[in-house]
Point group: C2
Amino acid sequence: MGHRAGRDPRLTTHLALAARALGARRMYLHPPDPALAARIAAVGRSWGEGFEIVGVEDWKSVIRSYGGLVVHLTMYGLPLDRVLPRIRRSPDVLLVVGGAKVPPDLYRLSDLNVAVGHQPHSEVAAVAVVLDRLGGIPPASRRSRARQAIVPRARGKKIVRRRGR
Amino acid sequence: MGHRAGRDPRLTTHLALAARALGARRMYLHPPDPALAARIAAVGRSWGEGFEIVGVEDWKSVIRSYGGLVVHLTMYGLPLDRVLPRIRRSPDVLLVVGGAKVPPDLYRLSDLNVAVGHQPHSEVAAVAVVLDRLGGIPPASRRSRARQAIVPRARGKKIVRRRGR
């Protein structure tokens, strides 16, 4: 929430890449940024599909109509370690993050307000920690339709490219 | 590594805040950025000490003289799940991250090259996941000399300010 398309987009790009790499299926981006969504879609065509960005004008309707647990990540919330069992019980989870100033309504509309440490933080880090706690790091083999994939190595870089794509 | 002080500093700021919030003691920043270090030091005066940024010109000497395990986080490395036990055995760990282009020497000078998923990623997320796997989320009470602290809440915000500071 509160993405500023006019500014350097690296922070939101990092948020999208981290969510994708750690197994999220979708990112609702408020406000929409079609150029950023297109760049992340291109990452998917190269490195494997299964993640999309959906631009959102009306964030309240997304939260109200979501069919799973809505978890707002904020340094003011309940400790992650205490509420993690409850989050794990929900088959679908929507993590909500914003910059320093989020609308006060967000605290009320979310099912849970959760802190990944009660310190000034990065929303990229907070999302990454929660996704890792929920599902771990997805194995490379899980990605479908990737044009290329990494062969893990102790030193250096190795990429295999797949034919016909 | 490879911080670009002239550009939007939010990404490196997020990296520092995430490292601090998840229990790191020090960030070596290459190249140095005194303004950024000062902003993070101000966060420490407000929210608790125990984290510092040290500006670095010669990154190779930092890695060569480091007394613990040097772990370069890269999507090309060995899977975190496989090498985590080895990282946990070291009392001191230096995590090294950079942007898209890091010097090839870094792969050779590091003790381990480790991937937090073999996908395009965020270095903020990668550092956060490893720190969480190593030490978990530090309890709020661990911070010393904080002028203010958060009282965890299910809804809204509550901060207590300490007298005499």
